[in-house]
């Protein structure tokens, strides 16, 4: 089968509502694991998503499909998965199936990974630059961010030539923009404004003081 056509950018597909639900399940999953003394809950989830779910698309479609009853799905989990995984994880999958949230399992995995990073004092930082970063500047940025923001940054780099130069760093919703493109835009705006003011005041010198 050919690759699916992409009609929208990735981030648009992230439904904020689904994201919130996934976050709730992920945190509950980790808390439950902690309370029950299950040590490698996150590893199990990751391996399930990347090795079972992603590689058996037929299996995934059965679990996600609305056409198959919950009982059948639960039976499938009992027969195919339960013998090969921990009872705790099988239970988690069953809860997801019962609540009709099994389709969110990939997003839950994402959130679990993020929470684990948070617990380890790490945070994802997006870096956009005009050119690929050199190793030197990468470690410099990492050091600086660590010093300023107080956590270990996990850099996610991307290259945008339209920035011309400089960097845009995004941590969560906050953007630190020191790109040449933005600076030039700011300068252009200010120059236009000042020049217009000069021209207008030059013109006002000749206009009638009492209006037309």
């Amino acid at each position: 089968m050919s690759e699916q056509l992409k009609t929208r950018p990735d981030h648009v597909l992230e439904d904020p509502g689904a994201q919130a639900v996934a976050s709730l399940y992920a945190r509950s999953y980790l808390n439950a694991a902690k309370e029950n003394g299950v040590g490698d809950a996150d590893v199990e989830l990751t391996s399930f998503v990347s090795e079972v779910f992603a590689q058996n698309s037929a299996f995934r479609s059965i679990l996600v499909s609305d056409g198959i009853s919950r009982d059948d799905k639960l039976g499938l989990i009992d027969r195919a998965l339960a013998p090969n995984c921990s009872g705790f994880f099988a239970n988690f999958l069953k809860v997801l199936v019962r609540h009709g949230r099994i389709g969110l399992v990939e997003q839950i995995r994402e959130v679990v990974a993020e929470v684990q990073e948070e617990l380890a004092g790490q945070k994802r930082v997006q870096i956009r630059s005009a050119k690929p970063l050199s190793d030197g500047s990468r470690s410099q940025i990492t050091e600086q961010l660590k010093g300023k923001l107080g956590f270990d940054p996990i850099l996610k780099e991307s290259v945008e030539e339209s920035l011309i130069g400089g960097l845009i760093i995004q941590v969560g919703d906050t953007v630190y923009d020191s790109s040449l493109r933005t600076r030039i835009q700011t300068l252009t705006g200010r120059l236009t404004e000042r020049t217009l003011n000069e021209i207008q005041s030059g013109r006002d010198r000749f206009s009638h003081p009492e209006g037309d």
Binding site: H11, V12, T174, Y176, R190, Q200, G202
Partner: protein, 503 residues
Amino acid sequence: MKFKADEIASVIQKEIEDFRGQIETAEVGRVIEVGDGIARCTGLSTAMAGEMLEFPGGIRGLTFNLEENSVGVVILGDYLKITEGDEVKSTGALLSVPVGDAMLGRVVDPLGNPMDGKGVIMTSDTRPVEHEAVGVAGRQPVKVPLQTGIKAIDSMTPIGRGQRELIIGDRKTGKTAVALDTILNQKGTGVKCVYVACGQRLTSVAGVVEVLREHGALDYTIVVASSSADPAPMQYIAPYSGAAMAEYFMYNGEDTLVVYDDLSKQAIAYRQLSLLMRRPPGREAFPGDVFYCHSRLLERAVKLSDELGGGSMTALPIIETLEGEVSAYIPTNVISITDGQIYLDPDLFWKGIRPAINVGISVSRVGGNAQTKAMKKIAGSLRLDLAAFRELEAFAQLGTELDAATQQQLDRGYCMVELLKQAQYEPLHVADQVIVIYAGAKGYFDNVPVAEVQATEKKLLNFIQTEHADTRDKLFEAAELTSEVEEALKSALEAFNARQASA
């Protein structure tokens, strides 16, 4: 003229030298859904309600809904240029518009951008569009009259500075004309005016601007225009921006007049926004807070206390009714908010009684406080006399024979109705109004045939202005009908009648 290129070049050079690129920090989000003038965005976790946002290309937005996982934004500009996935920046500032003396004489859109092709507006002052109204302690009673120049209004439903008087009526009954005449009459009084066109046709707006310009009223007026072709968010914020522009003058101790033409269209724009934002609809599908939408706007009209400079903002909201239905949702809301209403009646309009003010149901809750002493004295009984006349007129239609006294009362009534008619764009000074109404009420017009009353009125004013200017000047200055002035006026009127009889 020649621009001094060197000057400009040096300004540019200095600007570049002084430019220190700083790291711009901003809270961002992404557009997940856009259309119909609104957008839904994720991120923006610290956005405030009413905060100004910036879309790519400098298009501005206004935070409208703060939801659990997303933010509803109204787009103030061309929403067709925004696409899903675009980055939205928060600015940390509330939506504000430019204000100041430079705005006078200009036609601007609700964001304060010039629309009249007269170049940029040179002002550095801004005011937030949404601003809290002054509290009780900051106000004082409405006492100073705001003369509309319209006889029927100044005599029977007087408007004071700081009052909110609703102009209500069906379509094509002269609502805008009343408001425009009021603006024209503020010439030379120092009252700054703001005319807010909300959801109007652009031809009407152009017509209004032309009238203002022709009569020299544009010099003290700001026109805020949002046409029916503008997106709903622009129509929604237009009255608030107009109020902000007037507030600047008000807090500088000046008197201002704001006309909102009209608020029913604003309510419809607000309904559209709210429904698109999935706020639950209420009566007539308006959202629950449409009352607050108008009350918070009109509450900004105020007469400030002397400690705050004593400035004032008089508001003349306009509401269009359908088939005279004043008990519809929006009309009842605005009637209950304002300090009185001027009701324009289509039947009167087509009978030729223009301005078509229905005296019976038009009221001003401020009343006589907002009249000059002279006007108060002569107009005190006018409303009752007219009411008695209407009753008598209905009775006389039965065709019964009337005694002489009743017939005379009827004739005087017809004469007064005729005297209260007034042509458009011809506001009268209050002293002239006093002379005319005094003459009518005291029977100096009794011998004039009804068809000639208006022409005779013109002659009378002309006669007094040219031959008894001192009497008129006294009325002008004292604004009081002392016995001395009254005597002078009586003799002038008798002289006029004698002149008429001999002619």
